[in-house]
Amino acid sequence: MKKFTRLSMLLALSVALNVIEASLPLFNGYIPGLKLGLANIVTLFIIYKFNLKDAFYVGILRVFLVGILRTGLFSTTFFFSLSGVLLSIVAMYLSKNLFKLSIIGVSIVGSIAHSTGQVITSILLLQMSSMIYYLPWLLLFSIPTGILVGIICKQLVKFYDEVLSFE
């Protein structure tokens, strides 16, 4: 029961982060799809402190909630987010267990997977093969945003281990 409470609080946090980051467009929207990926902090945290199944639950529920609140359910943005989230969870889980990456490296992998998933979906869904030209830009920016998310998540994991686990 305690785990459910924590996961639902994390879900609420990820939705809040998603809404906050939507109001902070990077480069004024010149590169569509470019964002900080703050909600990925929560996904990464769950992969480290809970398990893969919980990460999928929270990730998918987040996409649905953000869809209802902001972008519209089953809109193109909705499918972009969904594919990005699913691919990034799988990639982060695999890279965490297969390679000796720190939490920052895993976060970069997640960020890359998110962008790649979105580009692939936009190519399939909108038949826009030219979207592939955005990929290098998104890849380039996924390094700094991935590092940022990784550092925040590292602190969060530390805080969780030191403070919350002794309740």
């Binding site: 004024n28 010149y30 390679f99 990456l101 720190s102 970069i108 890359i112 290098p136």
Partner: protein
């Protein structure tokens, strides 16, 4: 951050650079096709500097051609993504105004790419 993280970053940077250099070898387009939904509504010669107007779902979309480049100057949409995108000139590129259902595509036509 550990050694493997640095390796990862270097690999990603290399992939990025190679993808960027691929786009450098793009050919310049000579014509542009404008579609509304799936219908071709206008063919534009990129060698003539001119402004065009087409009707989209949210009203008129103003397209400008300047020095073999094409862009959307004015359109009505929530985020103005296609006017923010700016000029495009390489074949294979496109500007998509989704709310207006207007698509500008630079085709990969090999027929008349020999620009003197």
């Amino acid at each position: 951050m550990n050694k493997n993280d640095i390796k990862l970053i270097i690999i990603v940077l290399l992939i990025t650079i190679s993808l960027f250099s691929l786009s450098l070898f793009q050919k310049k387009a000579s014509i542009a096709n404008v579609y509304y939904a799936n219908d071709l509504i206008l063919e534009i010669d990129l060698s003539i500097n001119k402004t065009y107007e087409v009707e989209g779902d949210n009203g008129k979309v103003v397209i400008e051609v300047l020095d073999n480049q094409i862009r959307v100057v004015e359109e009505n949409s929530p985020y103005h993504l296609c006017s923010k995108q700016g000029f495009i000139s390489n074949s294979g590129q496109s500007i998509i105004c989704l709310p207006n259902k207007i698509i500008i595509e630079l085709p990969n036509n090999e027929l008349d790419t020999e620009v003197s």
